[in-house]
Symmetry: C2
Amino acid sequence: MTTYREHLKEQLQDQQFQKAWEETELAYQVARAVIKLRLDYGLTQEELARKTGVPQSVISRLESGRHLPSLRSLEKISKKLGLQIRLDFIPTQAQPRLN
Amino acid sequence: MTTYREHLKEQLQDQQFQKAWEETELAYQVARAVIKLRLDYGLTQEELARKTGVPQSVISRLESGRHLPSLRSLEKISKKLGLQIRLDFIPTQAQPRLN
DNA sequence: TATAAATATAGCAATTTTGCTATAAACAGT
DNA sequence: ACTGTTTATAGCAAAATTGCTATATTTATA
């Protein structure tokens, strides 16, 4: 394979990777937030499911980052724990510490 | 109508109102955030639409709080403006100032 | 009040997420 | 290895959101 084609391929893969990453990035961010939330409360997925009415399969799917959850689901989960969702837009890059 | 029935009715209305409110509350919260975002940038819906690729009709629907937008839509909007979404769970009531 | 600009709404197909039930796979403790 | 517990996956119908085009309504301004 020519160097050119190799380079092209790499670029393509990078782009594909880039795109794939961007598409899953937010899902993972949310996933981590939910996992942290659940663990902070010392709950299993099943327990969180019972407490919030959101089925375990949905919680797992969400925590696995298999797709972007709806705000409705996140709201259901947080409300029953006495929490609310804070959502805002912040400058890119700045990953402010949560604590 | 008896006092009892009146009371029942009021309660029902309260519950219905409560429920309706809770269902739209988050949508309005998000709506306000997007409106603020857009105005901070001094853009019309049409301009924001062009800049982000999210159609004006969708932006209007969202800003009107007609339903809860997907995180994907919010992401599209924010990314093109060099922003990212911050989402976390905070204790209920605490309405922390954004500035 | 006429006109233009901005925003809201309508209706509908396509896409995405949910909710369900069941089961598989991973993990922990003995 | 065996058992129980926890998490991940599958597949599919129902529900919700998007994206589109067109149009109505509201708002601002001359």
